[in-house]
């Protein structure tokens, strides 16, 4: 291959990437805007324009747009971004295309942590207990997965351990809700297992937002190390990558973002799985680029899913996690069919 053609290909690659990021950023902005315009009440774009022109517009429209839909859209952006980012980081680090916070039990464990703070009354004592509980659950789950099915464990081990951990955490969540004399236990269980963004407020955003952003910051510096890791651990080490540092940054980053996101939005599966897979072909399989692309893609997909749950069912709102699972599960099956060969 001549140098000029390699340069040419590099330039073409860069060009494709800027198109990809342009499309993703546009998608996120558009989905965010639509998220503000869609809801069970009639408030829509006319009210939004009126509000932008004159802040003292009708109080109902103002409250609906600012206090109900804005925090919901912002949370959709943060939660989705966390799922995409964590999915790409875990897949890169474990070098396993099936790693995902939902599938490997991180989300379910974060739910458990959050439920425990709620039902022991800890969350009533100080508000930060809720996201901290979610983060603690997520940290524990990442460590358990690391021990059970680290890079050497292979796909089958990872998935089986993930199923076990997810089921166990879900069972403990149900147990905690069963033991608490809670008249709404069944509904709460459904929420923690299926996730939802309905009727969230700025309080939830203030609780989870800072932790999520810290998690993003940690995960986004992993790009170079993950690129090096594609060559194998030994090679990465000779390139000066400190694998212990990579591991602890990853664990903390995933736990902060997924733990805090789950503590306010419940467990939402498959976004972290689907998004990196959809985008991988556009970034030339470079984990570093995939990280940022997946964050944007995750936000976009979650916002679209959250818009859909408001549009699809006119009565009781569909749970967000139901929709992501309905789209994600067939995709997951497809992946399993494709990777079947690696399991022997």
């Amino acid at each position: 291959m001549s140098i000029s053609s390699a340069e040419h290909r590099g330039a073409e690659h860069g060009h494709r990437q800027s198109i990809l990021f342009g499309v993703l950023i546009f998608g996120v902005l558009a989905a965010f805007l639509v998220s503000l315009l869609v809801g069970p009440s009639k408030v829509g774009w006319t009210e939004l324009i009126a509000l932008l022109a004159d802040p003292d517009v009708a109080p109902a429209a103002k409250q609906i747009l600012i206090e109900i839909r804005t925090p919901r859209a912002l949370l959709g952006f943060l939660v989705g971004g966390s799922l995409g980012l964590a999915g790409a980081a875990l897949q890169g680090y474990l070098r396993n295309p099936l790693a995902e916070p939902g599938l490997i039990g991180v989300s379910a464990s974060a739910s458990l942590g959050a439920v425990l703070t709620l039902h022991t009354g800890l969350a009533g004592l100080f508000a930060l207990a809720l996201p901290l509980g979610g983060i603690a659950g997520a940290i524990l789950a990442v460590f358990v997965m690391q021990a059970l099915a680290g890079a050497a464990g292979g796909t089958l081990r990872l998935i089986l351990a993930g199923i076990a951990l997810s089921s166990f955490a879900s069972a403990l969540t149900s147990l905690a809700l069963n033991l608490a004399p809670d008249p709404f236990a069944a509904m709460e269980m459904m929420f923690w297992m299926m996730g939802s963004l309905s009727d969230r407020s700025f309080e939830h955003l203030e609780l989870a937002g800072p932790f999520i952003l810290c998690g993003w910051a940690l995960l986004s510096v992993l790009g170079r190390s993950l690129d090096a890791l594609t060559l194998g651990e030994d090679t990465a080490r000779t390139l000066g990558i400190d694998l212990n540092w990579v591991r602890s940054t990853l664990v903390l980053g995933v736990a902060l973002s997924i733990g805090a996101a789950t503590a306010v939005a419940g467990s939402i599966s498959f976004v972290g799985l689907v998004v990196p897979h959809l985008l991988r072909r556009f970034v030339g399989s470079r984990p570093s680029t995939l990280l940022y692309a997946s964050a944007l893609g995750g936000s976009c997909l979650t916002l679209i899913a959250d818009i859909s749950v408001r549009l699809i069912a006119p009565g009781p709102e569909l749970k967000l996690g139901v929709l992501t699972a309905m789209v994600g599960a067939p995709f997951f099956l497809l992946l399993i069919m494709q990777t079947r060969g690696d399991w022997q």
Binding site: A60, A61, Q63, I64, E67, H119, D182, F184, E317
Partner: protein
Amino acid sequence: MLAAALSPILAASPQRIVSINLCTDQLLLMLAEPHKIASVSYLAMNYAVSPAAALARRIPQNYGQAEEVLRFKPDLVLASAFTVHSTNALLRKLGIPVLEIPVADEIEDIRNNIKSVATALGNSETGAKVLETFDRRFAKASISPPRPRAVAALYRENNILYGSNTIAGTFARAAGMENLADQLGLTGFSDLPLEILIEQRPDFVIAGIRSLHAQRGLLAYRNLHHPALARLLENRSLVRIPDRLWACGGPEIVDAVRILAAAHLKWRNQKIAERDVDKQR
């Protein structure tokens, strides 16, 4: 209870009665002689949800499972039509008479339930007395719709809006209020997104009192803790009705009617005063 003790004891009148539902617990505690009550549900002595909690304190509890019920060797089991059907069917199969009491939504349902349980217990006279007292107290507490008339949203945990054909709808109507659910064309229990409530701006929001394991962080209450609802209520009224008055339709709803009627009349007088001030300007 004196009247009941004096009434002729029918040979067919049951002697060991078990109730497996909170709402039938109330009827049993209200209408039966205490020594004939073998067991009531575990919720019966919970003050938060059970109007007759004081009467239930010394009575053995059950969790509504067939095996537990059998242990009391009952000759009558009271269950709600709302109770798990498999339990009722199983008990009947084992030869135990089960009286299923429908959920009371209207005043007439409350009266019918009192009558049918009193008859089954062989205590028709006690039933008649209870009914008479209820009718009198209810008529005294009720008011006809004033002018202007307030619109009320009966809005509880998990975004549940109570329609006119529910027990809460019945006590709001007796307090002269218009039900938001009617304006929206909703009946029974509907899922009302917070957005719609904010958009509709009812004069009253009527909620429960978080008494059963009330935790601020519980998701069920998120609609009631949302800042947007707090903002709506800045110049509107929130009335909290104890949960035990929503739980079952029974004579206790008179208390809810009283609370709401008082709040409604106060609101009406305020509206009239405001209107007069506007006129003077």
